[in-house]
Symmetry: D2
């Protein structure tokens, strides 16, 4: 089988190599991978390992995969040959607070950019029935991050206001999930074209932060002075203060991205007066993934796929990732 | 002004009388009532006071009202003359657990079936902007009961399955709220016509309990054996066991109605094996009402009004209440 | 090694037999069992399998064990040889809501009444460091049921009032945990001697239900009319109504036991007016067990052991179980 | 009566003046103040109004008071003459999320440094029965901040580890509440004498941050690598990173103080990998205050009073506040 292997850090070292198909252990399943979705983290891991903990080459990159079970170990009881499955981003994070020993696919564990992958049965879930492989592969990391922030931790409900920053994979899933729950969505971006496309996905309001740098004031106006219930902080740095100022009393900021600076800053007084909850989001657990897949199926929610690439075209896909896609990029194995 | 007054228990004693318009105190508002929605509880209170605690004649019945503020006391800061408002069912239940001293309009406090009503400013909220008076008047009790069970306490989310029993006011609101959150709704009723109408409101499945007495089995089939996430128990008695058997592990039964027996029964073993949460619902608090009104406005959710009556036609409205309306009955003051 | 085996239902069929020591698989550990604690459920399972689901002979009874790891499979990473461990009651219930496929030790899975037991590594936790084997063995079922009801689900805190019924294993753990969190404990029992002993364990008030059948009124008096925050319902039947009447607004009843009738009954009105949460408790998950063990160690909490028996003396231990111990009964393997 | 009045910002302008005793309105109570506790916020408000929002002279400073009801308005039903009461810090924050219109005593509303005060009945609670007036007066702000962070929002339980920074009023209450719930307390301070005194109040571990600047490493060692469950961030600035590194996965940092810098900073990666909840705490609501008072009474918890001053000695008390007391400072009116 073919797989992309990174013998040392640096995109130029990536190598599409031919290796033997692995064999599942007692409690493992062999998956014929159909598609792998790329995340910004994959780019960081390939370049210098900074997308996670304990990432050292050699490495098969990428965490998000969809495919079909083609062989099972003798103690496997969660799946049968032929089942369509997704991998989980964090293996061994089943439910509740994350256990410190959990690891991620695509570094340090072997990743998704291969024609076959072996996973412990506990590391996989049944794929949604309403999505094809390429669309399904986008769910384990980006969609679950958005779902976990808004639904699992945020208990989002109809009539609430959600502020979403940017138009990458996580942001567009957040938009779709928020709209599907009857919430009002205010999208912040620096690109009018992307804002226009986002409105067709269900955004109620779109604010161009280049034209309206004080978008926090605009959010308070839209909400009659009340502020937003949820803000997805995708930028970092001093943007956090805008997020806090856009927030209602006791609202929730989910810190997910670092489009700007990989740090957060805020004066303390807004914390005492607004008593926000600021929560770091690092994807989510398997039970929430299964909840979300049921939602995706019931809603017939369709992930926004910017483009798909063949396995051999990974370098072009990574270039596209550098440019900032609208939604997700997927590598197909066939 | 005119008001309906009950000098002693019994529908035949209801009297439409002429009295002076009341004057608001320092912290009170005078409301010109536009509409009052009827609840089953009003019927019980009129007949024998059994719809609440400490209900003794003389009494102005009904709890749910919409109208406009026409005068305010000197310390009022929540409202201005001209504001459209709703009353709250429980006065002084602002948020959190219900305080034991809270009371209800329409007994023991004076109720809504009058052309003018005085309320403390804390007992009212701003009316939705997208509904007329008649539709808005249906929200404080029936809609809030459904919202409180599913959203405030139940943290309902997309992809979950909700079982709803009956087609009265609470049930239809529950149906609409569940559908608006992307949930799957299974409606149980004994009447095919009502089931057909419920499907047009967003029910995903409709089960006629006369034809399918083991509807719990049907629910498990529909959910691939998993069971429903939420069940609204509207019947009571042994029906609770069906509700528990239709429920997923650690699911939630909200006990709201007593269409059958005013008691619940269950063997204990399903409680230990399914560890459900069974929660009694008695309407809800003001903060949740305000959350819900924002949802109603954003969703343009339209309450199901079976029929409206003039103030003088209260007896006919109560007869209709006896027959079991599809949705709500409203008395208009003009 | 020796183990107790039940070839068919009925206590008279229990047989202490000699079998080979089992061998652990890749992901399993071999435990030399030191002690097994008995639960009322074990008695039911031995008699007719009614203590759980899918309980069919042949069977090694009992779920609660402490011991030491003496061998590990090649993929084991949670434990090393020599580690002191406890089994979990529900295997594969790690955290969050219980997954429907989880099973219990001592039926249908092979149980604790043996000198050696093989468990998957995920089914065991590290033993507390402050307890000997006999005391430690009492934690997985009885202690965790009490902890799960009060702490994990109930968020018990200082100054709250907890009503506990009876003086069996679960009740005494509940008493100790409640006292350790600074709560007020009202113990209800029919036996003055047991009430006196319970007071030495931290009960603030003791009520003899034979002398004070309206103990709900007594609870309201003790709480200045407010009612208890938590009630552990250990009796069933009409006792539930007393529990609800003893409860504060929006309080919590945890249904754990069936000392009286294996069913619950209640009129509906107290559910609407008091809006209690009634939750069935079926032990709890592994994460909560680990939380509880940290608490036991920090508090130096000592489980109440009524008596220990040798492995061969199981029949005498079961007779004692029939009579109703004060706290726990333990079978020691050495 | 005498009261301290601030005609313009600046401590030198404070004036002990003689004014008429105020008269309660329909819904108000007149309190003969017995004691007022000082908070760091009062010092800021006196100097430049920076301790709150909309603070402008003239002003009667201080928010925390205990006293007795000496007169009631005609609609008052929560209190009777003779009742011992406390004021609430935030008036009109009854329960749930804080309503944006709520205000605080001692600026902008008239404050506690007076012999008599009029409050709306909703702004007061019954005093604890086990504390004298001076000790009781310390509860509304400092104690409630600690309780709200750890108990109301944090669901603290036995066996958890709490890191507390500093030895001011909030920190010592946090220490006492954590110990009373069976938690392990690690206290961080720069003063060995204060650490020694804190250990007598129930701190399990004491770390001098001058001698152990990497106290986060020490916390991880004490917790066997797991990290603390709760950290009370009292310092601000880069100290937040130490707090996050001391925290377990999905732990909770409550931002309460700014002993160092009035801002917070953190790199983003620890937020994604540790997914902490960072919550700003601004005292708390009335329901939690009432819960806490029940706990204080049941636990016989005694607030740490550093010193009491007579009403005329306010300047000396403010000097003491500048020096950093161990626990609370109280002004007595008699």
């Amino acid at each position: 089988m073919r797989q992309w292997r990174l013998p040392q850090f640096g995109r130029q070292h990536l190598k599409l190599e031919q290796v033997a198909i692995p064999t599942p252990g007692e409690d493992e399943i062999l998956i014929k991978v159909a598609a792998a979705a790329l995340n910004y983290r994959d780019k960081l891991n390939i370049e210098d390992g900074s997308g996670g903990l304990q990432i050292t080459p050699p490495l098969v990159p990428a965490s998000d995969l969809s495919g079909a079970v083609v062989a099972v170990g003798k103690r496997v009881n969660r799946f049968r040959t032929g089942d369509r499955v997704l991998g989980t981003f964090w293996v061994d994070w089943i439910d509740g607070p994350w256990p410190a020993h959990a690891l991620t696919l695509g570094g340090p564990l072997t990743g998704a950019l291969a024609e076959y992958v072996v996973l412990k049965q506990e590391w996989a879930v049944h794929a949604p029935t309403t999505l094809d492989d390429a669309h399904a592969s986008t769910l384990p990391c980006a969609a679950l991050s958005a779902w976990f922030a808004l639904v699992e931790q945020g208990h989002l409900h109809a009539g609430q206001t959600v502020v979403i920053q940017g138009t990458g994979g996580v942001s567009l899933f957040a938009l779709q999930f928020a709209a599907a729950h009857g919430a009002r969505v205010i999208l912040i971006s620096g690109d009018d074209d992307k804002l226009a496309r986002a409105k067709t996905l269900g955004a109620t309001h779109a604010i161009n932060r280049r034209k309206t740098p004080s978008w926090d004031v605009a959010v308070r106006d839209i909400t009659d002075g009340r502020g937003a219930d949820h803000v997805l902080e995708m930028v970092g740095g001093d943007n956090l203060l805008l997020s806090l100022q856009a927030l209602k009393q006791a609202g929730r900021v989910s810190v997910i991205g670092t489009l700007g600076e990989a740090a957060i800053h805020s004066p303390s007084v807004p914390l005492f007066l607004g008593r926000p909850t600021i929560q770091g989001i690092g994807v989510g657990h398997r039970r929430a993934l299964e909840d979300m897949i049921r939602a995706v199926d019931h809603l017939s929610l369709r992930p926004v796929l910017d483009q798909t690439y063949g396995l051999a075209d990974l370098p072009a896909a990574l270039d596209h990732l550098d440019r900032g896609p609208f939604g997700k990029l997927v590598v197909r194995m066939d």
